[in-house]
């Protein structure tokens, strides 16, 4: 049986190869997941340098524990859970920074996610609450032309989000984890997770809207 090319392996084949000690499988796995694991670890321990140590530990645990992965969760979720456990250990040992869960206050925003003045305030109930400054549609052509700027702006705006909103949006929308996985990783209730997702996405939508609003109009 010819050796599989790790660069095109599906997760399962990657694991089989990794169990057999295939270095290329390890490199492939690292290429796919290391950056995201560092971002997750940074949220837990506060510094990227410490996060790199945490993730190094995590990879060690992954390689040595590869036989214990039962495939009940996705591989990515398993990796992230190992990072979370390693980060908790590091946090306790280092007492360096506030754990994610204690950063609640900055995220306890309440109130509308769209500026109130974008809606009519009227004593006439048939007018009250209607759009006063409605969103203008993003034309497909515009989205294509501005694709690079939109991604850049999104990256910038994502980093500016309050930390828990950033983590939820990052794990759900960037990394593609599902709601229950994110709740487990971040110790959030479903409702809380949804509020953070909502608030984060609303801010990011607005950031993108500003790109469109400031783009030169087509001739």
């Amino acid at each position: 049986m010819p050796a599989s090319d790790p660069s095109s392996l599906e997760e399962h084949q990657l694991l089989v190869a990794l169990r057999a000690g295939d270095e290329r499988a390890f490199v492939e796995l690292v290429e796919r997941h290391h950056a995201a694991m560092v971002r997750l670890a940074t949220a837990y321990v506060g510094s990227e340098a410490l996060a790199e140590e945490v993730v190094q530990d995590a990879w060690s645990a992954v390689v040595q524990g590869i036989d214990r992965f039962e495939g009940r969760s996705s591989l990515k979720t398993w990796l992230f859970t190992i990072v979370k456990n390693r980060a908790s250990t590091t946090f306790v040992r280092e007492r360096r920074s506030a754990p994610l869960s204690s950063l609640g206050s900055e995220d306890e925003e309440t109130g509308p996610t769209v500026a109130a003045d974008r809606f009519c305030s009227s004593s006439d109930p048939s007018l009250d609450g209607e759009w006063a400054a409605p969103p203008r549609p993003w034309e497909d052509a515009g989205r294509r032309l501005l694709a690079l700027e939109l991604r850049e702006e999104l990256r910038r705006a994502l980093e500016d989000l309050p930390r828990r909103q950033q983590m939820v949006v990052g794990l759900r929308d960037v990394e593609g984890l599902d709601a229950s996985e994110v709740c487990d990783l971040l110790d959030l209730s479903e409702a809380n997770q949804r509020v953070l997702l909502h608030r984060g996405r609303a801010r990011l939508r607005q950031a993108l809207e500003e790109v469109f609003d400031h783009a030169p109009q087509p001739a």
Binding site: M1, V16, R19, A20, G21, D22, E23, R24, F26, V27, V30, E31, R32, H33, H34, A35, A36, Q56, W59, S60, V63, Q64, D67, P112, T113, V114, A116, F119, D128, G129, E130, W131, P134, P135, R136, P137, W138, R143, L150, R151, L154, R155, L158, V169, R172, D173, V174, E175, G176, A179, E190, R194, L197, H198, R201, A202, L204, R205, L208, E209
Partner: protein, 95 residues
């Protein structure tokens, strides 16, 4: 007899968008959301834009590792391999 439901305002709709996309709105509220959306192009636009935002976020995934990081991790990997894996990788046949 169906109970009269107050129409949702646009101001309320924008706060329900994520619940709608996550399919966590209670049934009655979901119906009212969809009824409003069918009649309100502005709210449909807002919903579409929230979807586009989530989709564009999915395009941000980066897996860039510096050669130094890669080399370091690979060197470490060679030290971590379980003790029964002593043959070099190229000699191992698939199980």
């Amino acid at each position: 007899m169906p109970e009269p439901a107050a129409d949702l305002t646009c101001r309320e709709i924008v706060e329900l968008v994520t619940g709608y996309l996550e399919r966590t709105l209670p049934e009655g509220q979901r119906r009212r959301f969809e009824e409003h959306r069918e009649l309100c192009p502005d709210c449909q636009t807002y919903l579409t834009q929230m979807r586009h935002t989530a989709d564009t976020l999915g395009e941000l995934r980066e897996e860039s590792l510096t050669p130094g990081q890669r080399g370091q991790l690979l060197a470490a990997f060679r030290g971590w391999r379980p003790s029964d894996q002593t043959e070099c990788a190229a000699n191992l046949s698939p199980r």
